[in-house]
Assembly symmetry: C2
Homo-oligomer: 256 residues x 2
């Protein structure tokens, strides 16, 4: 620990050390961290200091507490989500949600929750250009990578458009729901996303297996068809520490 910065608190320095041991594989992903007494003895600091250092790693999702079992090195690293590329895969029969996960060599999984009619929440109704409470089709899912939850996604469709289609069933087949909208003559061609960050509510924290103090991204994703009609809205609630969101665009003014 010769490279310690004198201005850093002791627990921040210990956190740096533990971080480097995770990065270099001294502590293997998915394995248990040494116990706090063991670390305190090895590093000759108090258990309080070790506990605060481990707290820093927990907040960033590098380690995870399994209740009654101890503290484990997290198995998932950051997942890159390229907004403008992920929906372009449906012409190859892939779903947008699987792309990022498979590119990391991980196994995607979708757990379907409620799929059926529901009154549109106000933010969704506003995006769809309908009155709040108007009946829509909700498709609610939890998405996983190697059995770790990564995000919750609630997609809303105009009821009259979706009600007689396969969209009312959980599994909608190759290409995902946007391919099915294309079958219905409402292929999405343009998208908007509004990104905020907040602390999760209790249900989200449980479903996403988040440590306390870990924020979530909330993305409101709207798809428009060639007639510029909003044809679906998805509310993504994503574990903040797991994702990097990538966007790209060209300028709208000509270079001078």
């Amino acid at each position: 620990m010769s490279s310690i910065e004198p201005s850093k608190s002791q627990y921040a320095q210990i956190a740096d050390l533990l971080r480097s041991r995770i990065a270099d594989g001294t502590y293997v992903k998915g394995s248990a961290l040494p116990s706090e007494p063991e670390l305190a003895a090895e590093l000759r600091v108090s258990r309080v200091t070790i506990n605060k250092a481990v707290g820093l790693l927990r907040a960033t999702g590098l380690v995870k507490v399994k209740r009654g079992l101890g503290t484990y090195v997290a198995t998932l690293s950051k997942i890159d989500r390229h907004a403008s590329e992920r929906f372009a895969v449906r012409d190859r029969g892939a779903g947008a949600g699987d792309v990022e996960i498979r590119s990391l060599g991980l196994q995607p999984r979708t757990d379907y929750g409620y799929v059926g009619p529901i009154g549109a929440p106000s933010a969704v109704a506003e995006a769809l250009g309908i009155m709040a409470g108007t009946q829509t089709l909700l498709r609610s899912r939890a998405l996983f990578a190697d059995d770790e939850p990564t995000q919750l996604a609630d997609s809303y469709y105009l009821w009259d458009m979706a009600k007689d289609s396969v969209l009312v069933q959980p599994d909608v087949g190759a290409g995902g729901s946007y391919a099915r909208l294309a079958d219905l003559g409402a292929a999405p061609v343009r998208f908007t996303e509004a990104v905020t960050v907040r602390m999760p509510d209790a249900a989200e924290q449980r479903k996403l297996d988040l440590d306390s103090g870990q924020p979530v991204f909330e993305i409101i994703h709207v798809a428009y068809d060639a007639a510029d009609r909003p044809v679906s809205v998805t509310v993504h609630v994503m574990s903040g520490h797991l994702w990097t969101l990538h966007y790209a665009w060209a300028d709208r003014v000509s270079p001078s």
Copy 2:
């Protein structure tokens, strides 16, 4: 309080009530909230419950503790940041950072920090296609709206490109730094952003006047010129509760 949901904890219900009082103007922006004993007496709950309810509002930035003075209703609401529009204003002589603030009727202000040569941090160097530690020009600023800090922005430029230009001075004139890059024959025409969320470090928390438990957005913004050279990188650290990030794009596959 007749519309209280039975499944919600008491303090979450109190938080909802306080939230609605802020929304309807019962509690005016910038004014002090009633004290916790006053609220406890009025609402006939314990001070602990009031304290937890106010804690929820603090985490979302709706109220702010001024040390020694009490709890105040925050003056700033969410600021909409439209990525693809904000840089298009420079042909009208405006800077990207001012647009969102003025559209809310607020007064933008920039405090310049260090402006001068610095070795590129690794993430910046990677984006600029240079070796980490290579000398770049850093322009470090803190941005405000009506004297409230909203974000920290550190922009990096290739040293050889920028060193003899006005970019080495804090104020670069009308149109901002991208107009100056255009003057240098390196007008940005394409942009990428990588968005993550994390807890702030102690210095960021102080500079952004964040309550404990409030996360920040970190955006790495890269500008490319017409020759597809990366010509600047800006690292934005933004108060998470203050911003909604908006992105828009058209699909890359033809609609079927």
